[in-house]
Symmetry: C2
Subunit: 227 residues, 2 copies
Amino acid sequence: MARSNPPANSGPDAASSVPGATVARLPLYHQALVELGRDGETTVSSERLAELAGVNAAKVRKDLSYLGSYGTRGVGYDIDFLTKQVSRTLGLTADSAVVIVGFGNLGQALARYSGFAERGFPIAAIVDIDQSKVGSTIEDLPVQHLDDLPAIVAEHGIAVGVIATPLSAAQNAADALVAAGVQSILSFAPSNLDIPDSVPWRKVDLATELQILSFYQSRGGTLSHPA
Amino acid sequence: MARSNPPANSGPDAASSVPGATVARLPLYHQALVELGRDGETTVSSERLAELAGVNAAKVRKDLSYLGSYGTRGVGYDIDFLTKQVSRTLGLTADSAVVIVGFGNLGQALARYSGFAERGFPIAAIVDIDQSKVGSTIEDLPVQHLDDLPAIVAEHGIAVGVIATPLSAAQNAADALVAAGVQSILSFAPSNLDIPDSVPWRKVDLATELQILSFYQSRGGTLSHPA
DNA sequence: TAGATTGTTAATCGATTAACAATC
DNA sequence: TAGATTGTTAATCGATTAACAATC
């Protein structure tokens, strides 16, 4: 654990193990740092960063310590430098193209949503299994057929697949994305998926979020912001 | 901790403390149970439920034990009965009306998305602060003004506010929702919000999900499905 | 009875936090 | 030097899991 100033491992970092809970918070810090940078700030303390991220200061320091020793005692963290380190740790060094699978309600909604592109995840393609939907366009993007996924992924260098199909089609979509060679998958279907260990994936279920809130709401709201 | 068979507390349950990690998984079990019910199954083992939810069987039994002693040794869990218990614990006994704040890209997307209503959270109203947007309709719903929120919430008995504004307007939206009397808040803005402890809230940031995936992707994908 | 499966225990593991020495 | 703030330690807390007695 001995770590001197910046000697050997200031480069791509002594990678390996960042705890899962820390990884999940790095995007929070990243977001706060970007905002501070926009505001013209140059340094930030763990105290301030914690306030912006909605966590406690000890946690911020502990989390950041997994990336390296990038603060200055008595001063704080250099915002530009730390932003770069967090970006690098998260692998956000370049944009990652996204393909949306499923041109139903949710797929169309996501296609119109500009939030992905704004944060470095441009939507490069949309596919559906339904021939009657293929050929229509949305936001200048043509809807293509699921069968063409391997070619589409290769052509655009697509890294991420987003599953926006009905529940019944989600596993098939996952299989197609894996076969086409995407490197990770985000699913909006409320079911578990069978995906090889080599492809990290996550699930976002909007109704689940509301159901969790429902629990805390029904208990008089003693606990705020249950993470 | 002593809990005998079903004597005193089989009713609204010895409420109090269900661990946060368990609460976050109850919607997973709920979803799996609903699907099993649709398939005509009548009982399920912790093993099978675990498989469907993507967790391990010991965790399922431990989680369910916080709700009460609702299984039968040697047999498993009655699906109908357990579904009701999980619903009751989550406070899903009746539909909860939702208001969407922000009629931009994301707000319109959510308004078109039917997934909320299908899971018991019908969208009852949409508001925006921009007068030029007020009066348009989407999916038969009129866009109303943010200033009318208190009346709208009261009239429709709205329980949940969904923040779909730009980052810069999110805190103002939160303040308005709290003042209007919603009971919980789901925010899509990638920032921390200052909300009283009496109103539970959660944040869903789609780009954050992709950034977390980016980390695991860049590490060779050793870890699958990082929760 | 034999087989199956729960509910609970206890060990382990990982995450959180306060505190403080190091050091700018 | 005095004040501020990091990086790390160590204690605590909560979550996970295997194992198994209880019991259908």
